[in-house]
């Protein structure tokens, strides 16, 4: 789980603990501090030495407070916590961690910039593009999962995302599954449907098919807006048809207007 050491969100920890319990995993809290940019910033500022030391000490204290909070929150829920404190460039630190992790859980607003960024932040976008394991974006509030929506466009990477999700969450085999086919205009619906449904049937019990044509914003929103308790799975971030789902404008709207976890892979 990737966190800004200064700003820890308890709703995100709640969700991460739910996932850790479900998958019987240890939860590693990666507390990212980005001291490098801070130093540069502070060198440039005109503040005196003593106040600099103070602010560094303050930050250190609040980081330690957040680590304590995380550890307690995990233990209360019966999750085994693990702490990594990282002081380098957050993006690089997280990508190194991702090589040795099964999944990263992150809040869309996690940001290390001074100015306020719209979700998903630059940090989250970079993570989505470069992480070497799937990324699960935590929702603002979470009540449970009743339905899993797989976005599918026939490509290898959309199948890979579905497979990765299935391997990481084998417990969802009896949930309602929807294969949401996202087509460009007038394309033939459900390419290789027999094959993907053959695979899905081996892994899941209840499968529905749904086609959206032309990825019109309106249609997409109609589909997602009134939904609750679902989990969205998508592949190929930054490439192909599905990436347009995550184009800044559209993604922001989806992420703000909707409130469900999103599982993304890009290999």
């Amino acid at each position: 789980m990737a966190m800004d050491a200064q700003k820890v969100k308890s709703s995100a920890i709640d969700f991460a603990c739910y996932v850790a319990l479900l998958t019987k995993s240890r939860l590693t809290g990666v507390f990212l501090e980005n001291l490098l940019s801070e130093e540069i910033r502070e060198l440039a500022s005109t503040s005196s030495n003593s106040s600099q030391i103070n602010s560094i000490e303050e930050r250190n204290e609040s980081t330690e407070e957040n680590i304590r909070f995380f550890r307690e929150a995990c233990e209360k829920r019966g999750v085994q916590p693990n702490i990594h404190r990282k002081r380098g460039i957050p993006e690089d630190e997280m990508i190194e961690e991702s090589r040795f992790a099964d999944m990263i859980i992150v809040d869309t607003e996690t940001s290390f910039k001074k100015k306020i960024e719209s979700a998903p932040s630059g940090f989250v976008k970079e993570l989505l593009e470069k992480a070497e394991c799937p990324v699960l974006i935590s929702p603002e509030s979470f009540e449970g999962i009743d339905e899993i929506v797989f976005t599918y466009n026939g490509s290898g990477s959309s199948v890979l995302a579905i497979k990765q999700f299935t391997y990481l969450f084998p417990h969802f085999h009896n949930k309602k599954i929807t294969l949401l086919e996202v087509n460009r205009e007038n394309e033939i619906a459900i390419r290789s449907k027999p094959k993907i449904s053959e695979w899905l049937r081996v892994h899941y019990e209840s499968i529905n098919f749904k086609v959206l044509n032309g990825i019109a914003d309106e249609e997409l929103f109609k589909y997602f807006l009134d939904r609750k308790n679902l989990l969205l799975v998508m592949g190929a971030y930054g490439r192909g048809v599905l990436s347009s789902l995550l184009k800044p404008s559209r993604a922001t709207l989806i992420l703000i207007a909707t409130n469900f976890p999103i599982f993304i892979t890009h290999h």
Binding site: S25, R26, T28, N82, E96, E97, R99, F100, A101, D102, E132, C133, G156, V159, L160, K163, Q164, Y167, L168, S192, K195, I196, E198, W199, V202, H203, H267
Partner: protein, 273 residues
């Protein structure tokens, strides 16, 4: 449940592959999709118009059909005897594109180290096997015909992301095998003792394997790996990066190829994840 692809060309029936599937099925039921192909033969590459009489060609086709039929029967009887869920598909000659497409919609592909398309060339890995290893969109398990149940896992680690991708895929697909003792070897012929990112690797493997060790082997992997591994008996090798980019060139002389060639142990290869 996992969906596993089984491939047989002509009468090159991969007995070792069936044994491997049997072992997996004991812990977690699998669904096997078996693809049967006509034998690879050169006769068919000659355009039909070159053959003045059709009869020899027709006869050849008939005998090929019989071979494939025999393999199919053997497969279904083995599956039924061992309580393995299966479906059978008959096809023409081995078609790489079809195989790759099927692999996209499967969890693993199991083939024979010795027999895969060996009518074409018995020196393994032959062209067909290499193409499948490069193109497959799911992990491939290459199993020798004399298959002994592994009692130890050895994973080749090189510090690059490909070796971790293979390791993760292995853990997801065959969680039951993570109960075996596992050894993670970093092979580099130099003086140092350092294993890249050892701390992070250790964290990952202690979370996923019951008992594990990380070791650095100071030798030329191409020359000595199989000799080293043979002493351990009954191991299953996990290797990454049968890749497509720069890594694939490296693999040309890689030790995984050597291991497959010597038919001594099953090899799990994955390059996606």
């Amino acid at each position: 449940m996992k969906k596993i692809l089984f491939v047989c060309d002509g009468d090159n029936f991969p007995k070792g592959a069936v044994d491997f599937i049997k072992m997996i099925n004991e812990n977690e039921p699998v669904h096997v999709k078996a693809l049967f192909f006509a034998p690879v033969d050169f006769q068919q590459m000659i355009p039909v118009s070159y053959i003045p009489v059709a009869e020899p060609y027709v006869r050849l086709k008939e005998s090929e059909k019989k071979l494939v039929h025999k393999s199919m029967e053997l497969f279904t009887s083995l599956c039924e005897a061992n309580n393995i869920k299966y479906q059978v598909n008959g096809n023409d000659e081995v078609d790489k594109d079809l195989l790759i497409k099927e692999s996209r919609f499967a969890d693993a592909l199991v083939i024979s180290e010795e027999l895969f398309c060996s009518d074409y060339m018995s020196y393994q890995p032959n062209v067909y096997m290499k193409e499948v290893l490069h193109g497959a969109e799911c992990p491939v398990v290459v199993v020798p015909e004399v298959f002994a149940r592994p009692d130890r896992i050895v994973a080749a680690y090189d510090g690059r992301k490909e070796s971790m991708i293979a390791l993760k895929q292995f853990c997801y697909l065959f969680p039951q095998l993570t109960e075996l003792p596992a050894e993670f070897v970093y092979i580099k012929n130099d003086e140092g003792e350092d294993v890249p990112d050892q701390g992070l690797l250790k964290e990952y493997v202690t979370d996923h394997f019951n008992s594990s060790g990380i070791a650095k082997l100071h030798f030329d992997s191409n020359k000595y790996f199989t000799a080293w591994a043979e002493k351990k008996k009954n191991i299953l090798l996990v290797a990454g990066s049968y890749g497509r980019s720069a890594v694939s060139d490296l693999f040309h002389s890689s030790f995984a190829e050597q291991v497959i060639h010597e038919h001594k142990m099953p090899v799990f290869i994955a390059h996606h994840g």
